[in-house]
C-alpha cells in the first residue's frame, strides 16, 4: 500500500478525532487571540503619548517573539499560577507571541496618520480623547487588523507546539506522528492547521480591505 492511500484512509477512519482536535485547536487560538487583542490594542493606544513606556513595551514584546516557542512553553511550566501542564500555560505562551504584532501595528497605525488631519483635529478644538477615539482609532483600524491577522496566523502555527505541554489541539497528531514515524499522523495535524491558517488569513484579509480608508 502506498503511503498516500494510507494517509487518506487514516483521514477517513479518524474524521471525528481530527475534527475534534481542530475544534480544540481553534478554541485555543480564539481564547489566546481574544486576550492578546484585549491587552495589545489598549496598550498600543496607551503608549502613543508615552515614549518611555513605548520603548519598554515594544522591547519586551519583541523579546518574547525571539524565544523559540518550544523553549517558551518549557520555561512557563515551573511558573506558579500561569504555568504547569495544560491549556492555561499554552494560552499564556500564545498570548505572549501574539502580542508584538498587535501592539506594534496598533502603535504604528495610530501614529502613522496624516499630520494635516491631526493638526486640524487639534485646531478645531477636539480633546485628546476625541482625537484618539474619533480620528486616530478609526483611521488606524485597517493597520491594527493587519497586525491581528499576522498574530492569528502565528498563533495557529505555534499552537501546534502547545501539544508538547499537554494543551491538546492538532499538534497532538504531529507529535504522535513524529514519535511513530507516521506521515499519515503528521499530516492529520499539519493539513488542518495549514487550512485553518489559510482560512483565517483570507477572512481577516477581506475584513481588512473593507476597513481600509484611502
Amino acid at each position: 500500500m502506498s503511503p498516500q492511500i494510507n494517509t487518506w484512509s487514516f483521514f477517513a477512519d479518524h474524521r471525528a478525532e481530527i475534527l475534534g482536535a481542530t475544534l480544540d485547536h481553534l478554541t485555543l487560538v480564539v481564547i489566546a487571540m481574544t486576550i492578546a487583542i484585549l491587552i495589545g490594542v489598549p496598550l498600543g493606544m496607551f503608549i502613543v503619548q508615552r515614549p518611555a513606556l513605548r520603548t519598554i513595551a515594544l522591547g519586551i514584546a519583541s523579546i518574547f517573539q525571539t524565544i523559540p516557542s518550544l523553549a517558551l512553553f518549557g520555561f512557563l511550566i515551573p511558573i506558579p499560577f500561569i504555568g504547569g501542564i495544560g491549556k492555561r500555560t499554552a494560552i499564556v505562551a500564545l498570548v505572549l507571541y501574539a502580542l508584538l504584532p498587535i501592539l506594534r501595528n496598533t502603535y504604528v497605525g495610530l501614529t502613522g496618520i496624516d499630520p494635516a488631519v491631526l493638526e486640524s483635529a487639534e485646531a478645531m478644538g477636539m480633546t485628546r480623547a476625541q482625537i484618539l477615539f474619533r480620528v486616530r482609532f478609526p483611521l488606524a483600524l485597517a493597520v491594527i487588523l493587519a497586525g491581528i491577522r499576522t498574530a492569528t496566523i502565528i498563533t495557529i502555527g505555534v499552537a501546534t507546539i502547545a501539544a508538547a505541554i499537554g494543551a491538546g489541539g492538532l499538534g497532538t497528531f504531529i507529535f504522535r506522528g513524529v514519535a511513530l514515524v507516521s506521515d499519515a499522523l503528521i499530516l492529520a495535524g499539519a493539513i488542518p492547521a495549514a487550512l485553518l491558517a489559510l482560512l483565517a488569513d483570507f477572512l481577516l484579509g477581506l475584513l481588512e480591505r473593507r476597513l481600509k480608508i484611502s
Partner: protein, 260 residues
C-alpha cells in the same frame, strides 16, 4: 447644551510684545517682540517667506502654541488663561492640505464642531446644507462623498465650510489655496474675497503670495525672520520703502499679468 458661539462676536486679537522660542533657548527664537492689534472684521494677511514665523503667529492665536514672553489676548483674555478646547471651538482653522477626515463624508466633516457641541440633528443638518451652499458645493451632489472623491479645490471648499460651521467670530487660514493649480486658486481667491466681505469675520490669513495678499487683505503685515517689518493697507504697502517689501513687490513685477 451650549449652542452659543464660544466667543462674543465683537472681540479682537491682540499680541502684546510676544516672543516664542522652542525649549526656552533664546538662540532658537522663532518670533520676536510681536505687538499687533487685530480689530473685529479685519482681514489681516500675514505675508512673509518660508520660515518667517507666519504659521507660528497663527498657532499662538488659537493656543496651539503659548508665548514664551508677552501674551496673546483673545476677547481680552490671555490664551494661557483660556481653556484651549473652548478657545479653539470659537476659532475656525483652514490649512493647506485641508486636513479633512478621510473616514468622514463631506457632511460629517462640515458637521464636526456642531456635533462636538451637541447641536440637535435637524439644526446640524440644516447648517451643513447652508455651509455647503455658501462655499459653492451642491449638498445633494457632495454631502455623501468622501474627501478622496473630491478635487483639491473642492476639498478646500469643504475645509472652509467646516471651519465656518459653528459660526466662529475668528477664522485662521494657513496658505489654504497654496497647493491648488493656478486657475482653481484664482477662482477660490475671488470667491473667498467676496465671502470674507459678506461674513464680517475677523480673519488672519497666512500666505507668501503678495498677489493673494493684495486681493484679500484689509491690512498686510510683513514678517521677516520672526519680526514685523511692515504693516500697511494693500494700497500703502506697494509704496513702502523697505528692502523686504521691495523683494516682494519685485517678485510681483516679474509675474506676467500682475494687477496694475
Amino acid at each position: 447644551m451650549n449652542t452659543k458661539p464660544a466667543l462674543p462676536p465683537t472681540r479682537t486679537i491682540e499680541f502684546r510684545d510676544v516672543s516664542f522660542h522652542i525649549d526656552n533657548t533664546p538662540s532658537r527664537v522663532i518670533v520676536y517682540g510681536i505687538s499687533l492689534e487685530i480689530p473685529h472684521g479685519e482681514t489681516l494677511v500675514l505675508l512673509g517667506r518660508s520660515g518667517s514665523g507666519k504659521t507660528t503667529l497663527l498657532k499662538l492665536i488659537n493656543g496651539m502654541l503659548l508665548p514664551t514672553n508677552g501674551e496673546v489676548l483673545i476677547q481680552g483674555r490671555s490664551t494661557a488663561a483660556w481653556d484651549p478646547i473652548r478657545l479653539r471651538r470659537g476659532i475656525g482653522y483652514v490649512i493647506q492640505d485641508a486636513g479633512l477626515f478621510p473616514h468622514f463624508t463631506v457632511a460629517e466633516n462640515v458637521a464636526l464642531i456642531p456635533t462636538l457641541e451637541n447641536w440637535d440633528a435637524a439644526r446640524t443638518a440644516a447648517r451643513v446644507e447652508e455651509m455647503l451652499q455658501l462655499v459653492g458645493l451642491d449638498p445633494r451632489e457632495f454631502a455623501r462623498r468622501r474627501p478622496r472623491e473630491l478635487s483639491g479645490g473642492q476639498r478646500q471648499r469643504v475645509g472652509v465650510a467646516r471651519a465656518l460651521a459653528a459660526d466662529p467670530p475668528i477664522l485662521l487660514m494657513d496658505e489654504p489655496f497654496g497647493a491648488l493649480d493656478p486657475v482653481t486658486r484664482a477662482e477660490l481667491q475671488r470667491e473667498f474675497s467676496a465671502l470674507a466681505r459678506r461674513l464680517g469675520k475677523t480673519i488672519v490669513f497666512v500666505t507668501h503670495d503678495l498677489r493673494e495678499a493684495l486681493l484679500l487683505a484689509s491690512r498686510i503685515v510683513l514678517l521677516e525672520a520672526g519680526r514685523i517689518v511692515a504693516s500697511a493697507t494693500p494700497q500703502e504697502f506697494l509704496r513702502l520703502d523697505h528692502p523686504e517689501v521691495r523683494a516682494f513687490t519685485s517678485s510681483l513685477a516679474m509675474t506676467p499679468g500682475a494687477p496694475a
